[in-house]
């Protein structure tokens, strides 16, 4: 069955994204990992849409929204990372511990 394979792909991508998020120290890489997770979501959505195949095409609409918003988020994220980089000359998130009591 085709759906399952897509879902497995999505799950794998999601997991890779999670792993990347947890294991990478560079902020940009982390951002990429998140994108990977969002991409996994999109694969799911589109696959399900194909599975249900309704006229409303909700899955695809959803996916488009996700893509749009993901783009916006990346914009925001890069802006913040840039800010941090400018103030600290480092993109390593492990160095962010000013508020550690």
């Amino acid at each position: 069955m085709v759906l399952t394979q897509f879902l497995v792909l999505g799950a794998l991508m999601f997991s890779i994204g999670v792993f990347g998020l947890l294991s990478r120290r560079n902020a940009v890489t982390i951002l990429l990992s998140v994108e990977l997770m969002l991409a996994a979501v999109n694969i799911n959505l589109v696959a399900f849409e194909a599975f249900w195949n309704t006229a409303a095409a909700h899955g695809q609409i959803f996916a488009i929204f996700v893509i749009t918003i993901a783009a916006a988020e990346v914009g925001i994220g890069l802006a913040i990372i840039l800010l941090v980089f400018r103030n600290r000359a480092s993109g390593n998130i492990d160095e962010l511990d000013l508020m550690r009591w």
Binding site: L7, G10, F14, G17, L21, A27, I30, L31, V34, M37, L38, A40, V41, N44, L45, A47, F48, F51, W52, T54, A56, H58, G59, I61, F62, F65, V66, I69, A72, E73, I76, G77, A79, I80, I81, L83, V84, N87, R88, I93, L96, L98, M99, W101
Partner: protein
């Protein structure tokens, strides 16, 4: 597709305000930028008007649009009112704070009302897509606002932490939502509701529900999804923190309520225990951790985590019962708590702003003996902190009261256990709230805190915001029904799906 413009008027006004602020920001010279603040405040005030006309309109109780995906009913109206009033108060608090800062004012207001617009959208959303869009509209600007003090490393750090965890939660939420849609074949809550009972035993479905809840758990700072909150609260500009702890958190609860009551009322066995656990963890860990805080903002962060736990309690009550009355009462309790919490927590942050203006510090010890040099701030501090503690006759008691009422109504051992946990936590919470009271009122003024003659802690708009919140906290404590209960009664229509 028919749009009911009357129903959409608040959103439209706010959207227009965004444009006006943007335009003003572009055209006005730097010295006149304060007009952007004025426009934002005014715009929000105007947005409240159509809420009133809608509330008193004799037309349909529920105005549905976009194929049922966007609904303006009593629940939406009440929550929109909360968002608008809360946002309005935050803006009032922001004015002096932002003015005294050296950063660019215009975009602050722009981002803030954009976030408010997102919360308005959420209150009306009745499908996954709108909900998601609204949620992101709330959160996106906040990432930027948290980092608004661009030159301040703490602020940067706050923003980055918030952002990374925020997108992580978004991803998890979306992953859950994709399965919700995939398994039910519908993105509307209506459709999910109808398909859900058949799927109740499906592992994938449970996973979907859980991931969605985790996404909202991030917004409502439920333990263990709260880690970002203390650092972000501490690092962000205080008015933003106030908004985070009230506006954005309320938006999270709105999402949870819609999900639980509109989309998934049939599968309480999945989300009930989950929220039970989250509630218990949030209350207990939030309170215990707050005991050790020396920074007022950080303390308020943990306090707000614990308060979030209290708000989650009624969800657990609804989960063990099929009695519509119980479920409605739980919904009502959540809304009452949210309303009262919004006012008292905003008030508390207002006091933090005022106190920081006066002493230049948010370390609790630096506030010692404040009543000697700023008695009004000290009085207000006592009012809000003891209201958060739930001491009658300040409004907080009623929030806790209805919370207990809702959790005890189902005669069930699990809910009763949660009630006892909540009771113990209510007592633990007293310790740190009372500690602030103690410090401000009973400790001697520390050396080095000289009265600054020029810095009046309560300036115009901040005083107004504190006045409004204090009045509300006092009045709602004595007349809780008129000031909070009646709205909750209206808004419990959110359980209509049951």
């Amino acid at each position: 597709m028919n749009l009911d413009y009357h129903a959409l008027a608040p959103e439209l006004v706010v959207a227009a305000t965004i444009l006006v602020v943007l335009t003003l920001d572009v055209v006005l010279p730097r010295s006149r930028k304060y007009w952007t603040a004025f426009a934002a405040v005014l715009g929000l005030a105007i947005a409240a008007l159509p809420l009133l006309t809608l509330a008193f309109d004799d037309g349909p109780q529920s105005r549905s649009m976009m194929g049922g995906g966007y609904v303006v009913d009593e629940f939406a109206l009440v929550l929109k009112a909360v968002f608008i009033v809360g946002g309005y108060l935050v803006l009032l608090m922001s004015v002096s704070f932002i003015e005294s800062d050296r950063y660019y004012q215009g975009e602050y207001y722009l981002l803030m009302i954009t976030s408010i617009l997102g919360s308005l959208v959420m209150a009306s959303s009745r499908d996954l897509i709108t909900l998601f869009v609204g949620l992101e509209l709330v959160t996106g600007p906040l990432f930027l606002l948290a980092g608004w003090r661009k030159g301040d490393s703490r602020s940067n750090e706050a923003a980055l932490k918030f952002f990374i965890l925020g997108v992580l939660s978004t991803a998890i939420l979306l992953y859950g939502m994709s399965f919700l849609y995939g398994l039910t074949g519908s993105v509307t809550f209506e459709g999910i509701r109808q398909a859900a009972p058949a799927l109740a035993d499906s592992g994938a479905f449970r996973l979907a529900v859980l991931f969605t809840i985790v996404g909202f758990g991030f917004k409502v700072t439920a333990v263990p999804f709260h880690f970002w909150a203390p650092d972000t609260y501490q690092g962000a500009p205080t008015p933003v923190t106030a908004y985070l702890s009230v506006g954005s958190k309320t938006a999270g609860f709105v999402g949870l309520m819609l999900l639980c009551y509109q989309a998934l009322p049939a599968v309480t066995e999945i989300w009930g225990p989950t929220l039970w656990i989250l509630a218990a963890l949030s209350m207990t860990l939030g309170n215990l951790t707050a005991l050790r805080q020396d920074n007022v903002v950080r303390l308020l962060a943990y306090s707000s985590i614990a308060q979030g736990g209290f708000i989650l309690v009624p969800f657990a009550a609804a989960a063990v019962s099929n009695d519509p009355e119980v479920i409605q009462e739980a919904a009502s309790a959540i809304i009452v708590y949210v309303i009262i919490y919004a006012f008292m927590n905003l008030g508390a942050f207002g006091v933090v702003i005022a106190g920081a203006r006066r002493t230049g510090s948010v370390e609790i010890d630096d506030w010692a003996g404040m009543w000697r040099y700023s008695p009004r701030v000290a009085v207000l501090g006592a009012v809000f902190f003891f209201s958060l503690a739930g001491i009658p006759p300040l409004a907080g008691w009623y929030a806790k009261f209805v919370m207990f009422l809702s959790i005890l109504r189902p005669d069930n051992v699990w809910t009763t256990a949660l009630a006892v946990i909540a009771a113990v936590n209510a007592v633990i919470a007293l310790v740190y709230y009372a500690r602030i009271g103690k410090t401000m009122w009973m400790d001697p003024v520390p050396e080095g805190i000289e009265p600054k003659a020029d810095s009046r802690p309560l300036v115009g708009s901040l005083a107004l915001a504190l006045g409004i919140t204090a009045l509300f906290v006092g009045a709602a404590g004595v007349f809780p029904y008129e000031f909070a209960g009646v709205f909750a009664d209206l808004a419990k229509t959110v359980t209509g799906g049951i």
